[in-house]
Amino acid sequence: MRGFGATLGLYEPGRGFLYRTPLAVKAVASLACAVAVIAWRSPATTAVALLLAVGGLLVGARLSPARVLRMLLPAAPVLGILALYQGVAQDWLRAFVVVGGITACLLAARALTLTTRTQDLLDGVVRLVRPFRRLGADPERFALALSIMLRSIPYLAGLFVDVRQAARARGLERNPRVVVTPLVLGAVAYAHRTGEALAARGLGEGEPDEALPDEPTGP
């Protein structure tokens, strides 16, 4: 289970002003980055967004340039194909605007999750969803679902690494079925285990059937 070994979720303890910045400010900045690169599609906007996102991670989270680049590795194949397509089909400046904009948004979002504890993120989501309680939404359950989803991403990435290594050890890495089948089964098993663990702890069930009395009551 080497792939799971590095799984600390999306938050990584560290120093830098981003760790002390309130969640609301980071969320608004991340959203503003996305809105800016979509609303004003120009090389200048993309360059500024990229500069701020990379600068934020280097200075605000005190990461090394190599660490920032490594963050983009999982998305690199898709970004590369997109850049190639845009460059060939349109022009290379256009490719920079599109791919650079996506990269800036990815890094801005990553800066938020990297520097915010999962519990603080949960509290933020609960506050955000609270007004929708009137419409029947359960903020705690919503936040729990989101945190489990965020937690699942690195877990599944780790599972993929393990499954691929197991296939390679058997000399079967070229057979996609050998990788996909255990990955799907592992994901379903993980979902089942997580659901059972949450149920056993009474999480995500809303209010108890009635207030727990100090003294036990009969049926």
Binding site: L8, G9, Q119, I148, L212
Partner: protein, 236 residues
């Protein structure tokens, strides 16, 4: 006052005409330490899962402090903590501190209080120095103790533990047993470790979904050894 844990003709089948996982049983568990032993597939985990409503009986009923697991499931689960054999099945947050905080969310505490209380819980179990490490980086023993801390953070009245020492080495096995022995809660556990079973006040022996012995631990262990055809040789 109702009994802490009561089985009223509670049984489990895979479906109405299907395989019997647990024969209907009438049982009242009032002792502070209750152990369930039996071979693999004998129904130990099924019995345990009935107690906190993770599994509902297909016939009869189970009640904890008078609350039926079928109709008062959420209330029951908040008063019955459940420790799984594999702690990784239990830990869902990236770090131990966050997992304890997640448990404390059910108490609706402000975030500052939650954080402080999580620290206290981790200190109580002697794992506060591991609070911010990934659960996947901990040893098996540390993980199991963290899983116990996560469950006990909300101070349930009953603790159900499904083979809590099975994956542990000798040292962690002893540490876990000592922690469980020191709890104020009523503890119901399963184990394959017969020395551990001997620490209970009452032991149930399960075989093919039926309780075949119910009594003091030493008698139950002797009965189970005989049932398995592995009674200790003279002098042992």
């Amino acid at each position: 006052m109702p009994d802490p844990i009561e089985f009223r003709g509670a049984g489990v089948r895979t479906h109405p005409e299907g395989r019997i996982l647990l024969e209907p049983l009438d049982l009242s568990l009032t002792e502070q330490r209750v152990c369930v032993i039996g071979a693999n597939g004998s129904g130990k985990s099924t019995l345990l899962r009935l107690i906190n409503g993770l599994l509902l009986p297909t016939e009869g009923a189970v009640a904890v402090h008078g609350n039926d697991t079928r109709t008062m499931g959420r209330t029951v689960r908040r008063s019955v903590g459940f420790v799984f054999t594999d702690p990784l099945s239990q830990l869902v947050m990236p770090t131990g501190r966050e997992d304890v905080e997640l448990s404390l969310r059910t108490l609706r505490l402000p975030s500052g209080d939650r954080r402080e209380r999580a620290g206290q819980v981790l200190r109580r179990f002697g794992i506060d120095h591991l609070a911010d490490q990934s659960s996947y980086d901990l040893s098996g023993g540390e993980r199991q103790i963290l899983a116990l801390a996560v469950v006990l953070a909300t101070e349930p009245r009953v603790l159900v533990a499904d083979e809590p020492t099975t994956l542990l080495d000798l040292r962690n096995d002893a540490r876990m047993r000592s922690l469980l022995a020191g709890l104020d809660q009523q503890v119901v556990f399963t184990t394959h470790n017969l020395d551990f079973a001997l620490e209970s006040e009452r032991t149930l022996v399960l075989d093919a979904g039926r309780i075949v012995f119910d009594g003091p631990a030493d008698d139950a262990v002797a009965y189970y050894r005989e049932l398995c055809g592995c009674a200790p040789s003279p002098g042992q």
